[in-house]
């Protein structure tokens, strides 16, 4: 059994699967798969995959339009060695047309953030570089989870000063909310304050663009510094595993067929490619230097 933990670099280790956002907030973490598994095997045993293919996640109440087509299943961006499932999105292999090249360029630019996450984690917590210290897989898993929790706390206390927040605030609907709360977390030495809502939804207030939100957020910050309130951030009930499943086994089979549909994946990717091609001036602008954007 010890051989199953041998990674491709001939050392022993475990595999970490993570989902993160632009500000490196970790939304999903699956750690503990033996090191000899490749990414596909890890994904096939991760709780995220099991939830998606059983229809428990994600919620389907948000539809979005791409190139004139309406989709309801959101997707994850990943690199190109996964199966063609409808909830995964990766670059075109061997792009030949200009549209596909532009899509690949943007997809890799956006996906770069999750590559950055692992570098940031190991730079910040050097114990992730020497994971075998306790010689127990259970302790490895626990330690990495604790590291990720500390990392999320770090992000929460510092995210107001992030560059991505400034970009977000300059967006079309960003409003003055994010820029109004900028600056007091970096400069003043008062590090006890967290985001306006104290939680991962800290940027949510800026979307509504209201000054009242900002004022309420500041009041909440003064009242209760430094706590994520579990009540206001209650996770969705959809995460619960209901036995038997809520919609019956037919719903589970439908979700299984829908999320693993290759044709749906190809359609989605073609539509996103067209969408990116249509918006290429706007979406590629942050990634080009001044000399490129003539």
């Amino acid at each position: 059994m010890a051989g199953s933990y041998q990674t491709r670099k001939s050392s022993r280790g475990i595999v970490v699967e993570a989902v993160c956002h632009e500000d490196l907030w970790i939304w999903h973490l699956f750690v503990g798969a033996p090191g000899s598994l490749n990414d596909i095997n890890v994904m096939h045993q991760s709780p995220l995959y099991l939830d998606v293919t059983a229809g428990r996640w994600p919620p389907r109440n948000q539809s979005y339009t791409l190139n004139g087509t309406i989709f309801t299943l959101p997707y994850y961006l990943m690199d190109g060695l996964y199966p063609l499932y409808a909830f995964l999105m990766f670059p075109h292999p061997m792009p030949s047309t200009e549209e596909r090249k532009v899509f690949n360029c943007l997809q890799e630019a956006v996906r770069k953030d999750v590559e950055r996450l692992f570098s940031v984690l190991t730079q910040r917590f050097h114990i992730a570089l020497h994971p075998g210290r306790y010689r127990l897989v259970k302790m490895l898993v626990l330690t990495f989870k604790a590291i990720c929790i500390l990392h999320n706390m770090w992000v929460e206390s510092r995210r107001e000063g992030f560059l991505s927040r400034h970009r977000h605030a300059e967006g079309p609907n960003g409003g003055g909310g994010a820029s109004a709360v900028d600056g007091d977390d970096e400069g003043s030495g008062n590090e006890d304050g967290n985001g306006p809502d104290g939680g991962p939804a800290g940027g949510g207030g800026s979307e509504h663009g209201g000054e009242a939100d900002v004022a309420a957020g500041a009041a909440a910050r003064r009242a209760a510094p430094g706590n994520v309130h579990a009540g206001s951030n209650a996770p969705l009930l959809i995460n619960l595993v209901v036995q038997p499943p809520a919609g019956g086994m037919a719903a589970v089979f439908d979700a299984w067929g829908e999320t693993r549909n290759v044709a749906e994946h190809m359609r989605l990717r073609a539509d996103i490619t067209a969408h990116v091609w249509n918006d290429r001036c706007d979406v590629l602008a942050p990634y080009l230097s001044k000399s490129d954007s003539r």
Binding site: E17, H28, Y76, T143, A146, L150, G226, D279
Partner: protein, 124 residues
């Protein structure tokens, strides 16, 4: 303000939060031993454990700094890790709720991927 962070590699807010939480496990209580002397203080144990997590240093390296033995530091790291995970795993490592998912979707749509709800990757 960054002096704390250069030493401990973690913002003061995070350290305070962890510190105020780990008072609860009995291992971290300061007790009186058989000779009547007080044992190591909570700050010593937490700082040693943090240094081990942040710098990845050997367990007996912090001896010169906080004057704890190797086994105490190892045990305090285990206690700290278990305490953090049991306390905050449901808060900080969870799926987004509806409002947060909306935020993520909106931001990804702004970046050119409407419907993208995250970036997924594996690391070995």
């Amino acid at each position: 303000m960054h002096d704390f962070e250069t030493r401990f590699r973690v913002p003061r807010a995070v350290f305070q939060r962890v510190y105020s939480e780990v008072k609860n496990p009995p291992f971290f209580w300061r007790c009186i031993n058989a000779t009547g002397c007080p044992q190591a203080h909570l700050v010593q144990k937490v700082v040693a454990a943090f240094r081990m997590l942040m710098y990845g240093e050997a367990a007996d390296r912090a001896d010169e700094y906080v004057r704890l033995s190797r086994s105490t530091i190892l045990f305090s790291v285990k206690c700290l890790v278990a305490c953090i995970v049991s306390k905050w795993e449901s808060t900080f490592l969870r799926r987004p709720n509806n409002a947060e998912l909306m935020t993520v979707l909106y931001r990804n749509a702004e970046r050119g991927f409407p419907g993208g709800m995250g970036l997924l990757d594996c690391s070995h």
